[in-house]
């Protein structure tokens, strides 16, 4: 069990480091710079927590570091989702107004639901640092799931195709956030006896997300294949006829 827990703690971060290097080498870090920041912070947080764990500091210090790290990670993860929305949808003039309003309303609604639900969950936490951590963990998962759903549904409805890297990033966050949402609710309700199973489940989800990011960071793009070559004389004639047909309308 100890081996599994250490494996799930170390290996996903190793995969994340490889993903960041791979994304940097392919120039993908320029497309989603917030993801790079999220990845670097996640690695920094891992190193800090690992150092605190091996230095055998008090549990309270470790938990405060975890709660603070989770809060920063939450902001960065939501930042990545907004960056995805900005790149794929908000940059389009036609869509920006409607989607901005939709995302604003979604965040407003999700914050209300998260506040109400985490209020009742947090009341069960045994101490302050755990209360902060559980509120942050649950709220961030709920907000991420909601935002990802809106983003994916909106672009699906409009038939916007995504390139490999943003798809991978979105799916990775989707796996992570949806598993965290369910497990955070279980941990808050069941209490300390659920800490280890929930921890293992969340770390497994993080492992899966990192595998997804790693695969997509190295996956070649599959652009739509344009029909053969340039325009021939017959093509130009054909299109000229089309223009004439339009003019006759």
């Amino acid at each position: 069990m100890i081996f599994l827990r250490y494996y799930l703690w170390l290996v996903p971060h190793l995969l994340l480091a490889v993903t960041l290097v791979g994304a940097w080498r392919r120039g993908l870090h320029r497309y989603l710079p917030f993801f790079r920041t999220f990845g670097l912070f996640e690695l920094l947080q891992f190193l800090t927590l690992f150092a605190l764990s091996t230095a055998q500091v008090s549990l309270s210090v470790y938990r405060w570091a975890l709660a603070f790290g989770s809060a920063v990670t939450m902001i960065l993860q939501i930042g990545v989702i907004f960056e995805l929305a900005g790149r794929l949808l908000l940059s389009r003039v036609t869509l920006s107004k409607g989607l901005r309003a939709l995302m604003r309303w979604t965040i407003g609604g999700l914050v209300l639901v998260a506040a109400a639900a985490s209020g009742s969950f947090a009341a069960l936490a045994p101490n302050r640092e755990l209360r902060v951590f559980e509120v942050v963990d649950f709220s961030s998962s709920l907000i991420q799931v909601g935002l990802l759903f809106v983003l994916l549904a909106f672009s699906r409805a409009l038939h916007i195709s995504w390139r490999s890297w943003p798809t991978g990033v979105a799916v990775g966050f989707g796996v992570l956030a949806s598993i965290d949402l369910g497990t955070a609710a279980i941990r808050s309700t069941v209490g300390e006896s659920a800490f280890i199973p929930v921890d293992i489940t969340q770390m497994t989800a993080f492992h899966v997300s990192n595998l997804i990011w790693l695969i997509y960071a190295f996956l070649p793009e599959r652009d739509p294949v344009p029909a053969a070559g340039g325009l021939g004389e017959s093509d130009i004639q054909f299109w000229n006829e089309q223009l004439q047909r339009m003019a006759e309308r």
Binding site: A157, A170, V175, S178, A185, R222, V225, A227, D235
Partner: protein, 176 residues
């Protein structure tokens, strides 16, 4: 415990929905000719006629009330079919324009960008108009369709033709 159970169920549903939605997003790398074959023809003039308020007024004045209601219902269902067809075409044109956007020729990229904007606009119109058309079948006084929709479709058809002059989109505008 019930609240936790709800969120656990929600998390499973969210996971499945996110996978399902993400599956459809990834560019499929399909041949544009194959996409062109999926286009269906839309008669913009016939559609304009179906949503013309003067035409509706004329029918209202010259037909018995019951007959008018039946005919109006048929006309609105036909208009919905036209809109859905135009929206499907717009979805295909979005793929065409996305492919053309990466062209090294700035004129092609610009034309593709315009086409993309208008295709998005048309799909957004379609989402707003179809429910209004259904609603107007229940409430005949409601004006269901903004005139912009037919104009929008006309605009994107022209843009496909213009793009076709610079980029291989063969067969597409013929189908529109």
């Amino acid at each position: 415990m019930i609240l936790a159970g709800i969120f656990v169920a929600l998390s499973f549903v969210a996971l499945l929905v996110i996978f399902y939605l993400a599956k459809g997003h990834h560019g499929t790398g399909r041949d544009l000719d194959q996409l062109a074959r999926e286009l269906r023809s839309v008669d913009v003039n016939a559609f304009r006629n179906l949503i013309d308020e003067r035409e509706e007024q004329y029918l209202r004045e010259n037909l018995p009330r019951d007959v008018f209601r039946v005919i109006q219902r048929e006309r609105k269902l036909a208009a919905i079919e036209y809109i859905q067809c135009a929206a499907k075409n717009a979805a295909i044109l979005i793929r065409l324009a996305e492919a053309a956007q990466s062209s090294p020729d700035p004129a092609i990229a610009l034309a593709a960008n315009k086409l993309l904007e208008n295709a998005f606009r048309l799909r957004l119109y379609a989402f707003r108009v179809v429910p209004r058309l259904y609603l107007s079948m229940l409430m005949p006084g409601l004006s269901p369709v903004p005139s912009g929709l037919a104009d929008s479709y006309d605009t994107i058809t022209r843009q496909v033709v213009m793009l076709g002059l610079q980029y291989p989109t063969r067969g597409m505008s013929a189908a529109l």
